[in-house]
Amino acid sequence: MMWNQMTLLFNDYTFQIVALGTGFLGFLSGVIGTYATLKKESLLGDALSHSALPGIGIGFLIIQSKELVGLLIGATISGLVATAIIQLMSKKSSVKFDSALSLVLSSFFGLGLVIMTHIQGRPNAQQAGLDSFIFGQASAMLVRDVRLIAIIGMIILLIVIVFWKEFKLFSFDPDFGRTLGFSGKFIEFIMSTVIVLTIILGLESVGVILVSALLIGPSVAARQWSNKLGIVLPLAGAIGFISGILGTIISSVGNRIPTGPSIVVVLSIFVIGSLFFSPERGIIAKRSTYKKQRKYFRKQIELLEEEHEK
C-alpha cells in the first residue's frame, strides 16, 4: 500500500519537478550557507528572509499577479532595506546589534503579515496561495520556477568555484585578505549577493520563516564530519539536497503539510544526528575520549602510588 503510494508519487510529473526544485535548492543553500555560518552572518540571513515578506506583498499589489520574478524582486528590496536599517541602527545609534536585528526582523515581518491579510481579504482570485510564502509550499512551484532556481543556482555555484580561493580567504581572515591586494569590498559584495540570492530563491518553497534553517542546518551538520572546507561544502550541499527531497515527499504524501516545516524537520534530524554521532567532534565521541583520558590518568596515578609504596 505504502509502496504503491510511493511509486505513484515518484512517477508523478509534478512531484518530480517539485522534488528537483527543492533538492537543488537544498544543495545550493547547503553550500552557500556554509559561507554564511563561517562568516558568522547566519542571523543576518534570518533577518533578511523574515523582512522579505512585506516586499512579496507589495510586489503582488503592484504587478497584480503571482509572477515569481516580480515577487522575488520585491522580496529582495525589502530584505535589503531591512538589513541596511539593522546595520545602520547598530552602527550609528546606541541600539545593540542583536536588539536592532530582532526589532527590525519582527516589525518587517509584522508589516508583511498585515499586507498579506489585506490581500487575502480582496475579492480577487489571483491571490490564492500567496500566503504559502510564509511557510513555503513547494507544490506551488511551476516548471519555470524550477528552471529559474536551476539557472541562478548554476551561476551561483560557478561563482563559488571561480572565487574558491578568495571566498576561503575572506571568510577566514578578511583583514589579512585586504593586505594581499584583493579588493575586500568587491569580494564581500559578491559573497553577500550570493547569500541573498540563495535566500530569495528559497522563499517560495521553504517560506520566509524557515529558509534560514536551510541555510544554517546543512553546514552545521557537515562541519561535524570534516575539517576540510573542500569536503564540508559539498557535504553540506548533499545534506541540503536530501533534506529538500525527503521534506517534499513528506509534504506531498501528507494532507496539506507545508513543505518548509517538513524540510526543516528532516534537516534537524541530520543536524542532531551529526552533533551526537560524528567521530571526533560528536558529543558521544568527545565523552568517550574524556572517559578514556580519565581512566588513563587514574591508572598513571595508581602506578605512581605503587612505585611509591615500594
Binding site: 580561493k165 594581499l180 584583493f182
Partner: protein, 251 residues
C-alpha cells in the same frame, strides 16, 4: 653607510568619529631594522599599524613607502608588505589545515582566481619548517595551542616573501619556545635587510630583542635606537601621561 628608510610617516592624524586616536605623528621606520612600537593600552599602536596597512584613512598626513629607492604609494607596494594580525581576530574552528592557512600567504602573488601550485606549497612547507611546525602541516587549526597559532600566522607572513613585516603583538600569550622561534626569525629577516615592525607589550624584553623603539601615546613621543632612546625617562613619560589630546580641537 647611511641608514635607509622603509616607511616614512609625516604628521599623521587618525580619528574614529570625532575622537583623535593618533595626533600629528611623525616617525620613520628604518630599513633592515627590528623596531618595537610600545605604549600603554589605547595609545594608538594598532591604529598606527592599520593606517600603515591602509585599513583606516587618516584625517591628515602622509605615509611614504620605500621598497626600491623611490617612495611609493601603498597600492604599488602592497605585495611587499606582510601583515601578522593578532591571532585572536580569526575563528580557529574554521575548517582548514595548517598548510591551508600558510598557503594563504601565497595568494597575493597568485592574484585573482589562480590556484596555488606545487611551488607555492613548497614555499609554504619551507616556512612551516622555519617556525618548527613541519609535522603539523596537515593538522586541523583548531587543535593548535596559542603559540602554535602564532607560528602559523608568522609562517603565512613569511610565505609572502615580503620586504616589510608588520606584526601586531606577536608575543602576546605565547610560550617561551614560540617567543624564541619568532624573535630568531625576525632577527634573521633583518639580516636580509628586511624591515620588521612589531607592536610590543613587554617592556622587559625590548632591550634584548629590538634595534629601534618608538614610544607612542596618541603622539609619537620618542623614537630612535634602543641603546639611546629606551631610557627610564622616556618610558615614564609615555606611560605616566594622562593625555586628552585634541579633544577641544575635535569638538
Amino acid at each position: 653607510m647611511e641608514e635607509q628608510k622603509a616607511i616614512k610617516i609625516h604628521q599623521l592624524t587618525v580619528a574614529y568619529d570625532a575622537k583623535p586616536v593618533l595626533w600629528n605623528a611623525s616617525v620613520t621606520f628604518k630599513k633592515g631594522k627590528l623596531t618595537a612600537i610600545v605604549g600603554p593600552n589605547g595609545a594608538g599602536k594598532s591604529t598606527l599599524l592599520k593606517t600603515i596597512l591602509d585599513f583606516i584613512k587618516p584625517v591628515t598626513g602622509q605615509i611614504e613607502y620605500f621598497v626600491g629607492k623611490q617612495s611609493s604609494e601603498y597600492k604599488e607596494i602592497k605585495n611587499h608588505i606582510a601583515y601578522v594580525p593578532q591571532n585572536s581576530t580569526v575563528d580557529w574552528d574554521f575548517p582548514a589545515t595548517v598548510l591551508d592557512v600558510v598557503l594563504m600567504g601565497r595568494y597575493g602573488h597568485l592574484g585573482w582566481f589562480k590556484r596555488p601550485r606545487k611551488k607555492d606549497k613548497d614555499i609554504a612547507k619551507e616556512m612551516l619548517a622555519k617556525v618548527g611546525m613541519t609535522t603539523f602541516f596537515n593538522r586541523q587549526i583548531s587543535q593548535l595551542s596559542g603559540g602554535q597559532r602564532q607560528r602559523v600566522f608568522l609562517a603565512r607572513a613569511l610565505a609572502q616573501e615580503a620586504d616589510i613585516y608588520i606584526l601586531d603583538e606577536p608575543l602576546a600569550g605565547v610560550d617561551m619556545k614560540t617567543e624564541r622561534i619568532i624573535m630568531d626569525l625576525l632577527k634573521e629577516l633583518t639580516k636580509e635587510n628586511k624591515t620588521v615592525i612589531v607592536v610590543h607589550h613587554d617592556l622587559q624584553t625590548v632591550e634584548a630583542y629590538f634595534d629601534e623603539v618608538v614610544f607612542i601615546n596618541q603622539e609619537v613621543l620618542n623614537n630612535g635606537p634602543v641603546s639611546s632612546t629606551f631610557t627610564k625617562g622616556n618610558i615614564d613619560e609615555t606611560y605616566r601621561q594622562d593625555r586628552n589630546l585634541g579633544e577641544e580641537e575635535g569638538e
